[in-house]
Subunit: 233 residues, 4 copies
């Protein structure tokens, strides 16, 4: 029997299955959700279930108040962070959270990832931002919801556009990424891990490494994302 | 013909086979045991046999005095360390020992692994402890048994609970992990290797990296292991 | 129906498929072309198409003025860099560009890769050169064509032979490699990534590491490439 | 038709095929030989042939004066190094040479690998030695033969036993390992790469890391290799 949530459940399932395939997390350390803007609900990985036991029907459908509207399992413990981002960052179709080791290292070190090269500039023109550390009060009160607002605050403070910068490091924790679809958010997690790895290696090759100059950042970003973009089909 | 040790032999076999699958050791450099608390015996990998030649029936069943009660092969040379831990740390169902390279690096450097982020705090609230180096006298006398007591001493000196901190680094050697089941002990070895890798990368990203603050450690540990835990099913 | 471009399309296809197989780039971050010197055209990967969806017939055939002569898709956004190299470096049969992480790290750090050992000297007698950073004017005008001339300039300034040194790092960007065939250019990309990795590890093992002395460089290069070469069949 | 070299050709073939399987070299950057002490000949990989095209019959059989006694292909360019070692180190059954990246890094840095832990002491009680750099004269005259004597000299100068220390780093080049059989020599190459990796990581975790103390080295080596060894079956 068809459910009207079938599309987002299928999308969420497929993107979650890419987490282990792309080595973005071991065991259950990552989750993807897919959003339906018309129904204002999203399908997300059930909490603590290993990827090899996931099925399309095990995806949990939740509304923006975090109420389960379909599914028999508990949703990911990070569900409230996802719902804040869908509410505040209009137009997202998917969100991915992983514990990929290089991105986690930058998050644990509390550093934004500088734009060291064109691989980075092909995707975003800014350093990958790292949030502030949350206050003890917020941690104790409503931690996962506050994590979402921590991200929103970070983008406001840094005057970043979430439509251009589709990734963030939550300090001491790890990466969240998003995009127009669940698959695109997963893609952004894989790209972020590659950028985090390349940036660390770059600093190891030279402690004098400098961020990319503005003209190169602009060129690479615009040829892929600008109005006269000529990358892709 | 059924043996009353079939359950622990099966468990030990399956967990041992995960050592190469999860890249936790090359060749024969790791072993898992599964404990039966009613019979006070455990099944453990035979010594020096490559994983691809293991079978359920090749598992060696040993009692807490290290006497073989079933099996035709020599048990792992680390057997006496396992038996000390089963005797001293009541309630364990399985123990894993590997030579996974990042965990070994911290053990060889003689450093505990600081709690740098939430991946760590999801599993334990303390640094992964590293034992003291054994005295020459103990090394010469009864090395493997002393290794077990070295671990017990480390937990007593640091006032750590083995029920909460299910992993340790034996200085100059490598990791031992445990849990309610053999599979859980293997899981803890894979998690420890990931934590050891992330912690090294974190220090490479910033020599100023600081351990996680108490409120975040507590939050992540409690949401997964506390009485009001809401992680998992 | 046979096209007279079938050979180069087949060669380009096969070499492009090795990019993910040899872990030289994730997603679409790399491209190979194969050149036909008689027809003065080359076959190149279509822009933005994932490797798993490539077919021989999806390869785009382009002449040295970057005009498409066969194919329905847009060619790689790096096409103009390839055509400059085919024009200026006579005798090339193939060119590969990847974003392999260790080579990218040296490019982002703006450092040439020193000849630290015989693995390097088996392939080239010089440091792998790193170009200068392009001027803002050139970046804005005709970026991909200028990238090609940046490489040519680098070889002229350093008095390097492109027939002997079949690889370069474009500063802030990543590696380009070439050879008598597309497959050889791909081989050189894999070798370069290995050299870049070994060179970084060497400096991490010892900050005092010194480049190989001339006699060893000469010996290893000549036994494989000299007139009395005795390596291979 | 059976040849009296079938056993060593089969052994050499199987051990060579493990080089790519265990990620010890890319392309053709490694070779294994298997020795027959009665016939005083060894079977070795043909030069420059990729592993996926090797067959048992492509192995080249060579005597200790480097004369081909069976086979239609050129033997490995490192053949003369193998023959010196078989002549000087009596009792070897196999030799492996690879360009595995961590071992190469120590060789390129010109450093012996300290005994940092029990993984090392399980296999040898000494640092993995690194030879001196060869004089220009020897390099130009008979390079591969001189490489063999460089290794022999290194063991004499350091008063090391080749029967106990079955591995060496040739400065600026990479590892050679040996053993009672070709398979054991290959095993030693895989172990050496793991020790090289662990030793680098150990120094990265702590610049104060100290070599293992004598009692632990002795204990681990003796329990596996001593007259009262109790490791294995």
């Amino acid at each position: 029997m068809k459910s009207r949530y079938d599309r987002i459940k299928q999308e969420a399932y497929e993107a979650n299955m890419q987490i282990p395939q792309k080595n973005l997390a071991i065991y259950t350390f990552g989750n993807v959700s897919a959003y339906d803007p018309e129904l204002a609900v999203f399908a997300i990985k059930p909490s603590g279930v290993p990827y090899e036991r996931l099925t399309v029907d095990s995806m949990v459908v939740v509304d923006l108040e975090n109420t389960i509207v379909e599914g028999t399992l508990n949703p990911s413990s990070d569900t409230k962070t996802h719902s804040v981002l869908y509410k505040e960052f209009k137009g997202l179709g998917g969100i991915t959270h992983t514990h990929s080791p290089y991105a986690v290292a930058w998050a644990q070190a509390g550093r934004s990832i500088p734009v060291y090269g064109t691989t980075h500039a092909d995707h975003l023109t800014e350093a990958v931002p790292c949030t502030a550390v949350m206050s003890d009060e917020l941690i104790r009160e409503n931690y996962e919801t506050s994590t979402g607002y921590q991200i929103v605050q970070c983008f406001q403070d840094s005057k970043l556009s979430y439509a251009e910068v589709e990734m963030v490091l939550v300090a001491c924790h790890g990466p969240f990424t998003w995009g127009k679809t669940a698959e695109k958010s997963l893609y952004n997690s894989a790209v972020l891990e590659e950028l985090a790895k390349m940036a660390l290696f770059t600093e190891q090759v030279s402690s004098q490494a400098k961020p990319l100059k503005a003209a190169l950042i602009d060129k690479h970003y615009q040829r892929k994302h600008g109005k006269d973009a000529y990358y892709g089909q």
